[in-house]
């Protein structure tokens, strides 16, 4: 063990448990304990509270403590917080309230984690909870922690219903009461049953408990205690009462009835009744039986038995009252700290010794670099392929900037026609590439593969799964998979956590697929460990349309190729520029029909002087052999002589030709209606060419990030488009002066932005 004192993080906020367990830890020699300061605003946390009283005892830097205090220790604390935790703490207690916490602990904490368990309802096990809440990772992460995780049970039998992988990590740390002193002030003057049943309106379990009680005892005088977050509007329900009223209730009510026959869980209030000297009538078969209640006169085997005893108590049968009150004190014995301390001391000694032994015997492992896969899921070329390369480069550069060098592998479909070798000549240093093919697995194969990978208990939720097959190790050498776009045809077999890089949800705005056809894409985003987007607009659609929760969404800056480093192409003399450049392709959302209408108005009505040069993939014969969605548009174009004369369709140009054409243009025209934006306007700016763009959110964001000073038009109104085109004839020269300088563009280079990408990726490693 290191020379630092043994510090423990007790990452719970349960008030009564804290009152017992924190002093108990101190009693066995743990002097420094961190307590969490944040918890979820869930009604189920009704017994939770925050205290700062242990902070003063911590001998860690105040700044570190401040960061720890900021975290949500029920979900996913930051990497920085885990670094601090690892620096100062060896042991933590946690509860599995949200699935992310187990993954976070397994991925980040180097000490020992004690999963604190207080028992669950009959028929439920902790194993089933793990599998239900975290079907892809729960068991795997638990097992991956090996000897660094313990099943810290509050009652010694809880592990008996759990499978072996949990049961063999059992550690008995008994739950007790902070105060077991008997406060015998009970008078019982109010001849009513006191029945505690919280949150009747919000919790199905307690609603049933309430209904069962009313059915069995509703005809007898009674009062229902327990906090009610939402008023259930039921008679005799007291709801929250001030302390003095509570004390009065414990003093005056004739008896308490405890309903639970749960063998693995117990509430505090029966012990409170015993402490107060109030007769406790309880049902047999529950945990009280194990705590010494089996032979007690207040124990009832049936409801009829309970009714008989309760009636006698309500009738003030002093004999029975005395008999119950006198004998029930035995229930407090196992809850006394003095009776629990040995188990705690022994348990924690085992934990510390095991940790120490583990650390001393740890071999000097050669840690390999983290490896990230950037996967192009379908045969993308053009902009998306370029974006994938930039993403890979940003991760590689970012990791180096953080001193955490990672290897990045770019994966593309194994199709040499689609992806010839020269396509990747520009891959930067630190980025390797690997061809792959999708492999489809049916449910049975998927189950087998997951079992082999250590995911015990994982069951398929889909008929079919896909997995990338790279001919090597099916990408299992990579620690994280990042899929460029959400175009996964079926669920990805969850062998590794994966991120999606989503550029847009175009289908929300343009009818590009039939209803429901995007279901698998949306499901892919919801299953991902994280979704990265590059515009605020897509960020919002990911929240609003894909339904991805905010904590899994990351908005990152747009990455543009290094235009600022390009050698400038020889400029055309300004006065000789007699055309503007329309960059487009054949996709439906490119707004061709309105653009052609606008050009018609521009030339025929507004006497437009500049020629229009069109370039882009599949545009050479766009008006001669139009695809079905452009038939009407082609008719319009071909019916106009002036359009045919003034508009030139160049088709897809090579890089050099394109840049030459761009550099000679008066301005660039972007007439698309809605997408994730086009970097052609950034490239144009780099060549000193201003741009006129359709006004939509992604372009607005691009304009802001790259300081482009674009001119705008309404892409839904052809006349407006034509008028602004006409106006550009007069203003494009002045607009050149508004373009960003090379220095300004350089600030948007990958070197400048890569760190943002790595910050997101490293949190998941």
């Amino acid at each position: 063990m290191s020379d630092k004192p043994l510090r423990v993080m007790w990452l719970l906020n349960h008030t009564s448990a804290r009152k017992f367990e924190v002093p108990m830890l101190k009693r066995i020699g743990v002097k420094e304990i961190f307590l969490p300061k944040k918890y979820l605003p869930d009604i189920e946390f009704r017994s939770a509270s925050v205290t700062y009283e242990e902070d003063a005892n911590l001998t860690i830097p105040a700044d570190d403590l401040a960061i720890l205090n900021e975290q949500d220790w029920y979900c996913s604390p930051s990497k920085q917080a885990w670094d601090i935790a690892n620096k100062h703490f060896d042991v933590l207690f946690f509860i599995f309230y949200k699935p992310e916490i187990l993954t976070s602990i397994a991925n980040n904490f180097k000490g020992v984690a004690l999963w604190r368990t207080y028992g669950v309802a009959q028929g439920v096990t902790y194993d089933s909870i793990l599998k239900m809440m975290s079907p892809n990772e729960g068991v795997y992460k638990f097992k991956s922690m090996g000897r660094r995780i313990w099943f810290a049970e509050a009652y010694p039998h809880l592990h008996k219903v759990e499978p072996d992988y949990i049961a063999r990590r059992r550690l008995y740390l008994p739950l007790g009461l902070a105060n077991t002193e008997v406060n015998d002030r009970w008078t019982g003057g109010d001849a009513k049953i006191f029945f505690v049943c919280p949150n009747i309106a919000t919790n199905d379990y307690y609603e049933k408990v309430y209904n069962d009680f009313k059915k069995s005892f509703g005809d007898l005088p009674h009062a229902i205690g327990g906090t009610q977050a939402i008023d259930p509007g039921k008679p005799n329900v007291l709801g929250f009462v001030p302390q003095e009223v509570h004390e009065r209730n414990m003093r005056e009510f004739r008896l308490m009835f405890y309903h639970s026959t749960e063998p693995n869980h117990i509430h505090y209030h029966p012990f409170e009744a015993v402490r107060a000297g109030m007769p406790l009538v309880f049902m047999a078969g529950g945990l009280l039986d194990r705590l010494g209640g089996k032979g007690l006169p207040g124990r009832c085997k049936t409801i009829e038995d309970a009714r008989r005893k309760i009636k006698r108590l309500l009738d003030n049968d002093r004999g029975l009252i005395e008999e119950i009150c006198k004998s029930q004190l035995v229930l407090l014995d196992p809850m006394r700290a003095d009776n629990c301390v040995d188990a705690w001391r022994e348990g924690m000694r085992a934990v510390v010794e095991d940790l120490q032994a583990g650390r001393e015997n740890q071999p000097a492992l050669i840690t390999r670099k983290k490896r990230i896969a950037v996967i192009i899921p379908v045969g993308y070329r053009g902009g998306t392929l370029r974006a994938a390369k930039l993403l890979a480069q940003a991760i590689s550069v970012g990791s180096r900037q953080f001193g955490e060098d990672a290897e990045v592998v770019l994966l593309h479909l194994d199709d040499r026609t689609l992806y010839p070798d020269e396509e990747f000549d520009d891959l930067p240093e630190g980025v390797a590439r690997r061809p792959y093919a999708w492999s489809t697995l049916d449910g049975i194969e998927a189950r087998r593969a997951m079992r082999f990978a250590g995911h015990e208990g994982w069951e398929p939720q889909s008929l079919l799964y896909i997995s990338p097959s790279d001919g090597v190790a099916d990408l299992l050498d990579c620690d994280l998979w990042i899929v460029v776009s959400d175009r996964l045809s079926m669920p990805l077999l969850p062998l590794r956590p994966y991120f999606l890089m989503v550029y847009d949800y175009l289908q929300r705005y343009v009818s590009i697929m039939s209803p429901g056809a995007d279901q698998t894409f949306l499901a892919a985003a919801r299953r991902a460990a994280g979704v990265m987007v590059t515009t605020e607009f897509t960020y919002r659609d990911a929240l609003q349309y894909a339904g991805v929760p905010g904590e899994k969404l990351f908005k990152l800056p747009m990455l543009a190729p290094a235009y600022s480093k390009l050698e400038s192409v020889k400029d055309q003399a300004v006065e000789e520029r007699d055309y503007f450049l329309w960059t487009t392709n054949a996709a439906p959302h490119k707004n061709h029909e309105r653009a052609i209408e606008a050009l018609k108005i521009y030339y025929e009505e507004l006497d437009g002087q500049l020629k229009c040069v069109v370039t882009g993939v599949n545009t050479a014969g766009l008006m001669k052999n139009p695809p079905s969605h452009l038939q009407k548009c082609a008719e319009l174009f071909n019916s106009s002589k002036v359009l045919k004369k003034r508009v030139r369709w160049l088709g897809e140009l090579g890089e050099g030709s394109y840049r030459k054409t761009l550099a000679g243009a008066a301005f660039l025209w972007h007439a698309g209606s809605m997408d994730n934006g086009t970097f052609s306007v950034v490239e144009a700016a780099a060549f000193g060419v201003p741009a006129l763009s359709s006004d939509y959110p992604a372009m607005r964001e691009m304009d802001t990030q790259f300081s482009l000073n674009l001119e705008w038009m309404d892409a839904t109104r052809p006349r407006n488009m034509a008028e602004i085109l006409k106006a550009m004839e007069a203003t494009w020269r002045e607009r050149k002066n508004l373009l960003p300088s090379k220095d300004v563009l350089a600030k948007q280079s990958i070197d400048e932005l890569a760190g943002e990408y790595w910050k997101v990726v490293r949190e998941c490693l």
Binding site: P41, A201, G516, T716
Partner: protein, 577 residues
């Protein structure tokens, strides 16, 4: 204290779930408003089939107080059969016996094969294999014997199975043939009649309330039941006066004691074409019933002056002095989502509401999309309404499509009706491909309704016609959500402040104006909320106790008169300046 008894006449047709019915919730509020009046006792007389529904409604709404529920004894036989069929259809299905037998046999056979294989694998000598061979031989002989014994039964079973399958297919083919022939010969009245008869039985089990034959059956049942109810009513001499909260029941006029009928609205007159295409003859029958009830009535209550003068006085020639306008009290939903004794700025309430919304989303019109919608903090517009022609849903969805696609507001639109039961909405959602953005949450329980209101960015009510000021205003404001509404007379009667009107109302016949108002309200949410909260605080002073008191005043007047006579002018009003 002497207790005065008043009667309430309820004649709902069979199979209506009052928990999802506006009138049901109105009645619950009314009876809760009477809880503090210890001098009153209500006698509710309803058909035998409505008793369970009313009890469920009162349980859900937490209605207690001094009232009793009286029904004639025994339900019509045919209704009992139908209810038994529904219970059978909705039963929790266990695996069939056949399935269980087969799976058990398969399981045992698998075990036996594994057992033989294991023994084969574990045999290290030929002698060790002998018991295995013996077991196999015994099994083989037993199997052959069994096959020989069962072969006649098996043969019969195969023949019977083939006959059943053949019969089923034959019936199906014949039905298809009849249908095709009927289509071919549209004038072939005999075939059409056959087809009509067949459709009667099919629809009976599928959507009974929209089937004409079923409606006719319901009518006969209701007529018989109302006679039985009247016999009960006429035996209650201590009831001072009777009140009907709806104008759907003309038999109410047969009560001989003083009586008062509420006419919420006669909305079908304003949308004749769309209503004619919705719900088959159901609406026509309701309409005829309402007209008959109004024409036979003497004393009326409305929720607004707009209905009093615009409908009763002008259209039906009722004298103004025979009509009392009693405005609604606010519908306060806050108790369903107000978390007690937690001072965290509403975080726990919002967390709880998100859980409720997740539960509601799982039952939406597109469960495949919304059940796994993991972001419970999404933004949305909310319109709680049943789908009816007067609700102006077409304009709302058109405005929403514009806001989403052209103005990029990003919000979803949550509605509470069933698109399957109202084709204009379904078709429009499909036309605009808005299946994933216009989500219909059908049959919301009240706590989920409250949660939907609370987490909405904005509540919208574009309704063109209502009986009183729409509850949307108070329901939304009671949980801190601002509202924009159609400028219609019933709303203007209550929300009279000009600044409030300018901020809240839009022109409901112009979807562009609606879109503009919604967009403005989203951008100025806090200011709008602040403005509307002032009005809400004034409206909130009116309670359901006040509503009950005004009804009692009206009932007392007609009771005191000892005979049915005209009522004096309008009672106490609530106006917001």
């Amino acid at each position: 204290m002497s207790v005065k008894r008043y009667g309430m006449y309820l004649a709902y047709p069979p199979t209506v779930d009052l928990r999802h019915d506006g009138l049901g919730r109105y009645m619950a509020s009314f009876l809760k408003g009477a809880e503090d009046r210890k001098d009153l006792h209500f006698v509710l007389v309803c058909p035998s089939w409505a008793k369970e529904g009313l009890q469920a409604l009162f349980k859900t709404e937490g209605v207690t107080g001094s009232f009793e529920l009286i029904t004639p004894v025994g339900k019509p036989v045919i209704l009992r059969w139908y209810e038994a069929y529904v219970r059978y259809k909705n039963r929790v299905r266990n695996r069939s016996l056949w399935y269980r037998v087969i799976s058990s046999l398969t399981h045992r056979l698998n075990w036996w094969v594994s057992h033989i294989e294991r023994r084969l694998g574990n045999a290290y000598s030929v002698f060790a294999l002998l018991p295995v061979f013996l077991e196999l031989a015994v099994f083989g002989v037993l199997f052959l014997l069994l096959a020989a014994l069962l072969s006649p039964i098996l043969l019969i079973a195969v023949v019977a199975f083939a006959a059943v399958v053949g019969l089923k297919r034959g019936v199906r083919a014949a039905t298809a043939f009849v249908r095709q022939e009927a289509l071919k010969r549209a004038k072939g009245i005999g075939v059409a009649q056959l087809q009509y008869l067949a459709s009667r039985f099919g629809a009976l089990l599928h959507a009974p309330k929209d089937n004409e034959w079923v409606l006719q059956l319901y009518k006969y049942m209701e007529e018989a039941e109302s006679e039985r109810m009247l016999r009960l009513i006429h035996g209650m001499k201590d009831v001072r006066a009777w009140y009907s909260p709806s104008a759907f029941w003309p038999a109410f006029n047969k009560i001989r004691s003083p009586k008062l009928m509420c006419v919420p609205d006669v909305v079908l007159t304003e949308f004749p074409v769309t209503f004619s295409k919705t719900g088959g003859s159901r609406y026509l029958k309701s309409f005829e019933a309402v007209e008959e009830a109004i024409r036979g009535g003497q004393n009326f209550v409305t929720y607004s002056d707009a209905i009093k003068y615009g409908t009763l006085v002008e259209r039906y020639g009722v004298r103004p002095q025979d009509v009392t306008t009693i405005l609604h009290a606010p519908s306060d939903l806050s108790r369903w989502v107000s978390v007690k004794n937690v001072a965290d700025g509403g975080a726990t309430e919002r967390f709880y509401c998100k859980i409720l919304i997740r539960s509601a989303l799982a039952r939406s019109s597109v469960p495949g999309y919304s059940a796994e919608f993991l972001n419970s903090s999404f933004k949305y517009l909310f319109y709680a309404t049943q789908f009816r022609p007067n609700k102006n849903l077409t304009a709302l969805i058109t405005a929403y499509e514009y806001l989403l696609r052209k103005r990029h507001i990003g919000h979803k639109l949550l509605l509470t009706g069933s698109p399957q039961e109202f084709s204009p909405v379904r078709e429009l959602i499909e036309k605009f491909s808005l299946q994933n953005d216009v989500l219909c949450l059908y049959k919301l329980p009240v706590h989920e309704l409250a949660a939907c209101y609370k987490l909405a960015d904005l509540a919208v009510n574009p309704s063109l016609s209502e009986g009183g000021c729409p509850f949307t205003f108070t329901e939304a404001l009671s949980v801190g959500t601002p509202v924009v509404m159609a400028r219609i007379p019933v709303a203007e009667e209550v929300l009279t402040d000009s600044e409030l009107q300018a901020a809240t109302f839009f022109e409901p016949y112009d979807w562009r104006d609606m879109a503009k108002r919604i967009e403005w309200a989203i951008e100025h949410r806090d200011a709008l909320l602040q403005l509307q909260a002032k009005t809400y605080s004034v409206l909130a002073k009116r309670t359901w106790g006040d509503v009950v008191n005004e009804h009692i005043d009206a009932l007392e007047r007609i009771a005191d008169a000892g005979k049915e006579q005209a009522l004096p002018g309008a009672a106490n009003r609530l106006r917001v300046a």
